[in-house]
């Protein structure tokens, strides 16, 4: 039975598990999944972070035979999963501070080494604020020492837990509580921001990847690959936030897919500082469709703000070239 699966038969990148061979199915499709982030937590409807974390952690749990410890930065993920005495974590889990998850993970990993527990692995995780801003020093230190930690950043592009303020991962033009759409240049500034996957690569660490909640097969594969390696690894997962973005909860997956398809969120992998692969786009979409579904970008469509739309399209076009996202002719199966 080697009937070829046509991935695009639904008109999207969505692949129904039932169409796949057993070994290709997601960890989530398995009855043996660990449910490391269990149900009953307090995430909002349509939360991309909860979905991303569930897939990422369960994939890491499978890859390590459940010998996994998680270190969490302060943020939505921490708050919605664990007010004492309740916890959604069916795994050893520690939260210390907003800005030190990477360093705490270094310490946990050091303890495993000194105790001779080679099989016990460590992940650190946080949102974009806890990673690209306040946790950046500790993150860079962990990369620099090449500590045996996988750091996962769930990137929803602002400080959502405190009420949607700008972070260094907030895209240009976006409305946040600290970049309001008023004045001649509404929303977040163009020409600012921090691409932490690229900064991570500059450390020369074994593995860096971007992922997204619209392609959970790819996400699981990248986490599994990361856990097959030792040393410092980094994955930044694109996780839409309906509350912060002003989007419909039912559109979270769609928005993640659209961000990738227009080039604003390039999916790529890198090893030891060199890009090794990127997810190709058959026909890049324009950014308008992605932006229109979010109230944080609503001002961009008002007369007089055309330059913002052009600026955003230019960013997407630049990504398409930089990360080699265009599918070459003849690549199609």
């Amino acid at each position: 039975m080697t009937q070829q699966v046509k991935y695009y038969q639904t008109g999207t990148y969505t692949v129904g598990n039932r169409l796949l061979d057993q070994e290709q199915r997601t960890v989530q499709a398995s009855l043996d999944r660990s449910n490391a982030l269990d149900s009953g937590h307090r995430a909002c409807q349509g939360c991309g972070e909860a979905l991303g974390a569930r897939f990422a952690i369960d994939a890491a749990m499978r890859a390590t035979d459940n010998q996994l410890i998680a270190c969490n930065a302060t943020g939505c993920l921490e708050v919605f999963t664990t007010p004492y005495p309740e916890t959604a974590w069916q795994m050893p889990w520690i939260h210390s501070l907003f800005g030190n998850a990477a360093a705490v993970a270094t310490g946990v990993a050091a303890a495993q080494r000194v105790k001779g527990k080679k099989e016990v692995r460590v992940i650190a995780q946080g949102g974009d604020g806890g990673t690209t801003d306040i946790g950046f020093g500790c993150l860079s230190g962990m990369f620099d020492r090449n500590d045996d930690v996988l750091y996962i950043c769930y990137d929803n592009q602002a400080y959502m837990n405190t009420g949607v303020q700008r972070s260094s991962a907030t895209p240009p033009a976006a409305r946040t509580a600290t970049t309001m759409p008023v004045g001649p240049n509404p929303g977040n500034e163009f020409g600012q921001g921090k691409n932490v996957p690229l900064v991570a690569m500059a450390h020369g660490i074994p593995y860096v990847a971007t992922a997204s909640v619209h392609d959970l097969h790819d996400l699981e594969r990248k986490v599994t690959k990361a856990m097959s390696m030792r040393g410092a690894r980094y994955i930044q997962i694109f996780v839409p936030c309906p509350l912060g973005w002003g989007s419909k909860p039912c559109d979270s997956i769609k928005l993640a897919r659209m961000a990738a398809e227009c080039g604003l969120w390039p999916l790529f992998e890198a090893e030891h500082g060199e890009i090794t692969d990127s997810t190709k786009l058959r026909k890049p979409a324009k950014v308008d469709g992605y932006l229109k579904l979010q109230r944080r970008f609503a001002h961009m469509f008002k007369p007089g703000n055309e330059a913002q739309l052009e600026g955003m399209q230019a960013l997407a076009d630049k990504n398409i070239v930089k990360f080699d996202l265009l599918e070459e002719k003849g690549d199609e199966e």
Binding site: N66, C71, V79, Y84, G107, V108, A111, V114, G137
Partner: protein
């Protein structure tokens, strides 16, 4: 074994005897030699089964320590001055999570103006952070107290800060009687954590607690410190039985029983104070001193008992709460609130200013005559102060206070000679 060695190296050897499993190293004067010494011991194999981690900041140093301690490893780090401020958030976090980390503070002033020399404002800035704070008078005491600190910390699940005066102790070469490894192995059992990150028995650590329980959590942290008031002398006793030396405890007294003037202080200056007391005793003055070793928990009962017969108390401290006075004196006054005895507060030795015997004699002369103000600054140059105040009165834009003063006293010109 008797050795002649630098205080920092002695502390490094003492810490190594406690068999730490994770050490986080970040340089800051004057503690740096300690972690340098430990690094060499780990590299050479003298200290086995130990992960030595060069971190990128003090905040990371203690954060890595939080991770390793939560994962069940005996953890040590050292810091000073600006470093302890930079890690302040993690200082509170470590105690809140009940992680028995031991940390040396090589006491140093806090800027601005930046100053690398000794006072104790750095440790004092963290006095309410939930750590036990033990202050050492000599390097021998530093050696013994560091080893005891691990036992105290792990028995109570509370982190312990061992405070030793920067340069005066950390860089002083003195005779040290170093305990044997076998003695310390007998004294200090392996770390058996109250709670540990372990896939075989998953727990969630560090989760949120609301108003319904937060008060009780904080109260119990206080209770643990009250327990430490009993444990610290016990551990000193156990240590003395094995190592054969009295070291540690909550306070120590010197010629205090019949003293009319009782000097209270902490750290290395106690040595100078004792010398001055000896000289004044020869002249017939009834003067003695109390060294506070445990500043947190604060030994209220012991202080009260030691001060019961004194006619006046002089609290001499190398730290200063701007806008208030001394932190130590505030605590002593509270302890003695029911005893009608004057408590004079003397701020001394800030930013490394030497505390000389001559200055102490002058001070104690004034104290004996009850002529001291409630808050006194030892060797304050009043003339320089007045000149700067006058300058500020005359010119709104009078510039940097520190620079002006140095010009006034001629330090700038003198340094060119």
């Amino acid at each position: 074994m008797l050795k002649q060695m630098e205080g920092s190296m002695a502390v490094a050897e003492a810490v190594a005897l406690a068999r730490p499993e994770v050490i986080c190293a970040y340089p800051i004067t004057p503690q740096t030699h300690i972690v340098e010494g430990l690094g060499e011991m780990v590299k050479s194999g003298q200290l086995e089964n130990c992960e030595y981690i060069n971190v990128e900041s003090e905040f990371a140093a203690l954060s890595v320590g939080i991770g390793s301690s939560a994962a069940g490893a005996r953890t040590y780090t050292a810091t000073a001055s600006q470093g302890i401020l930079f890690m302040a958030e993690a200082v509170y976090n470590a105690s809140g999570m009940g992680l028995p980390i031991v940390m040396t503070v090589g006491n140093r002033a806090i800027g601005a103006p930046i100053n690398i020399w000794n006072d104790q404002t750095d440790s004092m800035s963290m006095r309410d952070a939930g750590w036990i704070q033990l202050f050492c008078e000599t390097n021998q005491e530093a050696v013994d107290v560091h080893i005891q600190a691990f036992k105290i910390a792990e028995k109570l699940s509370v982190p312990v800060m061992v405070c030793m005066d920067g340069f005066i102790l950390t860089h002083a070469y003195e005779r040290i009687d170093m305990p044997e490894q076998a003695q310390i192995d007998q004294f200090l059992p392996p770390f058996n954590p109250r709670q540990v990150l372990d896939p075989a028995n998953p727990v969630s650590m560090g989760a949120m607690v609301g108003p319904e329980a937060f008060t009780e959590v904080r109260y119990l942290a206080h209770r643990r410190q009250m327990d430490a008031l009993e444990l610290i002398p016990q551990v000193a006793q156990e240590y003395a039985e094995i190592v054969g030396r009295d070291s540690g405890g909550l306070i120590s007294t010197y010629k205090a029983e019949d003293a009319e003037t009782l000097v209270i202080s902490l750290g290395s200056v106690i040595g100078t104070i004792k010398d001055v007391i000896d000289q004044r005793r020869e002249e017939g003055e009834k003067i003695g001193c109390v060294a506070i070793r445990s500043f947190r928990p604060f030994p209220i009962a012991e202080i009260r008992k030691a001060c019961a017969n004194a006619k006046r108390i002089v609290v001499l401290e190398k730290c200063f709460a701007v806008g208030m006075g001394g932190m130590v004196a505030s605590n002593v006054r509270m302890a003695l609130s029911t005893q009608p005895v004057p408590v004079y507060n003397v701020i001394a030795g800030l930013g490394g200013r030497p505390i000389t015997q001559t200055s102490l004699h002058n001070l104690f002369n004034e104290a004996a005559a009850d002529k001291l103000e409630g808050l006194h600054f030892l060797d304050l140059n009043q003339e320089v102060v007045e000149r700067e105040l006058e300058r500020q009165r005359l010119d709104e834009c009078s510039g940097s206070v520190a620079e002006n003063i140095l010009r006034d006293i001629g330090a700038v010109a003198a340094s060119k000679v």
